[in-house]
């Protein structure tokens, strides 16, 4: 039972109990709530002043995560750039050098994306240098990639040409070494064994038994395969790049005029047609219409000492 409180009324000289009515209670609780609200407001102000709001905290965390992702992205962009730079340096330092092509200028590689404005970014996004920078770098890399792709294609074409030149070079002995019985290396003036006067000998005589296969010494096409006076049955092969080879005194052809031949293709058989004393192959190499010593193109088939012995 709650204690009843009394108040002394000096007019009636009596103690009167104090009763609480609704009005008083409302006033009391209003004051109570008011104080509570004031306290809450004060502490809220204090909190706002000293701490970040929850949303800010959460957003900041998210921001940190996204920025870390961006850093990884940046790293990936750098790696791509480095890989590209490796290919570019290979291109410039090795391929273009070896293929005798002019170097690509740096302005070509890096040009075309200098002061590029990204119209699709809003002003807010432009303020973040990160995004614009990333797009700039990407544009740069894409530009370099396009240039490099074109450059590699050019190089490939050049290599194609070079490889063609390499395979068309008459760099092989037209008769297998195992079937060769004698190699007459006289190039120049000599006494002709049948005509009996001195006249130039413009080729190489490779003596081999009748019917020994003769191979094309490089890629090319047959311009002539017929009987021609002193040559006997002869095959002319045009290799392009100024080179022509002739295979004379054959007994049989394995090719017809206009046919394309590859290095090592069987084109005919050794015989002794034309001005020949025994069955042998007369092999000539012409460069720009001039006879040159075929021996200079056979050196890879023999050892250095043998080659030197033959030359001198």
């Amino acid at each position: 039972m709650p204690k009843i409180r009394y108040r002394y009324n000096p007019e009636t000289c009596a103690y009167e109990p104090i009763f609480s009515n609704g009005k008083k209670l409302a006033k009391k609780s209003g004051v109570f709530v008011g104080i509570a609200v004031a306290m809450a407001l004060v502490s809220l102000a204090w909190y706002n002043r000293n701490f970040q709001s929850w949303d800010e905290k959460i957003l900041l965390q998210k921001n940190a995560v996204i920025r870390a992702d961006w850093e990884i992205l940046q790293e990936r962009v750098n790696i791509a750039s480095a890989r590209l730079a490796h290919i570019e340096s290979n291109d410039d330092e090795n391929y273009r050098l070896l293929l005798d092509m002019p170097r690509l200028d740096n302005s070509i590689r890096n040009g075309g994306s200098g002061g590029h404005e990204h119209y699709f970014l809003t002003t807010n996004e432009k303020k973040l240098g990160l995004i614009g920078e990333a797009y700039k770098q990407l544009a740069k890399i894409n530009n370099r990639l396009a240039v490099e792709q074109q450059s590699l294609q050019d190089i490939e074409k050049e290599i194609q040409l070079k490889e063609e030149m390499e395979v068309t070079r008459p760099a092989m002995q037209p008769i297998d070494n195992r079937q060769l019985t004698r190699l007459n290396s006289i190039f120049g003036l000599r006494m002709h064994p049948i005509l009996n006067y001195i006249r130039p000998h413009n080729g190489l005589d490779l003596t081999a038994p009748y019917g020994t296969p003769v191979y094309a010494s490089g890629n090319g096409y047959v311009t002539n395969a017929q009987l021609r006076g002193g040559y006997g049955n002869v095959i002319f092969v045009n290799h392009g790049f100024g080179f022509e080879t002739r295979y004379a005194h054959l007994s049989k052809y394995n090719v017809i005029e206009g046919q394309r031949v590859k290095r090592g293709d069987l084109i005919g058989f050794v015989g002794s047609t034309g001005l020949a004393t025994t069955s042998h192959l007369h092999y000539e190499v012409l460069y720009n219409g001039k006879f040159i010593n075929p021996l200079k193109f056979l050196y890879s088939d023999m050892k250095q000492e043998e080659y030197n012995k033959l030359l001198h």
Binding site: L41, L44, R83, L97, L98, A171, S300
Partner: protein, 322 residues
């Protein structure tokens, strides 16, 4: 002054002045605090819900922009990477086609760095101590040797001239590892793809690059040959002491036979005369009529590492340029 309050005391049958009700006060205070805290929490929640600070606004827009553009950039980067990989494959294929060997990955010389990094703190000090002992020992040794040799030998003018005559330079000025296109020994002939003995090294360079005499000596041959085989335009220098060097496939000759040249003098320019498939100089060193590996003579390099890398590179069997 508030009126006094009284309480009826049934024991004494009197009205007595009521004291301060402490527990009441406590109760009121604590309930005030609790209510205040509840209000605070509600306000905080509402503020969080309805009020947006400028920082929040900027962060929200930044996050949205960053995550949106990250996806786009990533997509573009992936596309570029696909192209890059295809280019890289092409690059490897081209390398194979030109040199007929696979491209070598770049090897870095590491030394002890790995062990030092993996070691603990105590180990680290041991390492340092070991290194200190080692360096001091070798320093002493070097001093002793130096003293010994300086006592034995002091080069005169004539000796220095003789030293100059050894072909110790590289024939190209800005000589880098990449320029060594083909080393000494068995290599692939570009024209018929057969293995053959390559008696020198091939140093690639742009047409017109200067070629130096690697040692002082006398020009014995300065031949011009416009046929597409052999050495083409080439120079031979007799250095004395049985050393002869040759520089082949030149474009231009700046010297004539019989002329005396000093070490480092320009004798010609790089070209692709003779049987060459690309502009380079074919460099040979012959000692007492035997071919030597010129790489081993190029001791005037930046350092031991570059020399070792050079010798290592010259061992691969790849296509020669002539």
């Amino acid at each position: 002054m508030p009126p006094f309050r009284f309480v009826y005391n049934p024991k004494t049958l009197r009205f007595e002045k009521a004291g301060i009700a402490w527990y009441n006060l406590w109760f009121t205070g604590i309930s005030l605090l609790v209510t205040g805290f509840l209000f605070f929490a509600v306000f905080l929640f509402l503020q969080n819900r309805w009020v947006e600070t400028p920082l929040e606004k900027s962060l929200r827009s930044e996050n949205a922009a960053l995550s949106k553009h990250r996806l786009i950039v990533q997509k573009e980067l992936d596309a570029s990477n696909v192209l890059l990989s295809s280019l890289s494959n092409t690059d490897r294929a081209l390398h194979k086609r030109i040199f007929l060997t696979d491209q070598k990955p770049v090897v870095k010389t590491e030394g002890y760095s790995k062990e030092i990094l993996a070691s603990t703190f105590a180990d680290f000090y041991q390492w340092i101590d070991k290194l200190k002992v080692k360096t001091s020992k070798s320093f002493e040794k070097a001093l002793a040797h130096n003293g010994h040799f300086s006592g034995l030998y002091w080069p005169g003018k004539k000796d220095i001239q003789e030293l100059d005559s050894y072909p110790t330079l590289a024939p190209l000025a800005d000589f880098k590892l990449g320029k060594l296109a083909c080393g000494f020994g068995n290599h692939i002939n570009p024209f018929n793809k057969l293995l053959y003995e390559h008696n020198g090294i091939d140093l690639a360079g742009e047409k017109g690059t200067s070629v130096f005499a690697t040692g002082s000596g006398k020009i014995t041959v300065a031949a011009i040959n416009d046929l597409p085989n052999g050495f083409g335009n080439y120079i031979e220098i007799d250095h004395g002491n049985g050393y002869v060097t040759r520089y082949a496939h030149l474009l231009q000759l700046n010297v004539f036979a019989g002329q005396k040249v000093a070490q480092g003098q320009v004798i010609g320019t790089i070209g692709m005369s003779g049987g060459a498939i690309s502009p380079h100089v074919h460099y040979e060193i012959i000692k007492n009529r035997r071919y030597c590996n010129p790489v081993l003579f190029m001791i005037e390099q930046d350092g031991v590492e570059s020399f070792m890398a050079l010798t290592e590179l010259s061992k691969t069997t790849q296509q020669a340029l002539d």
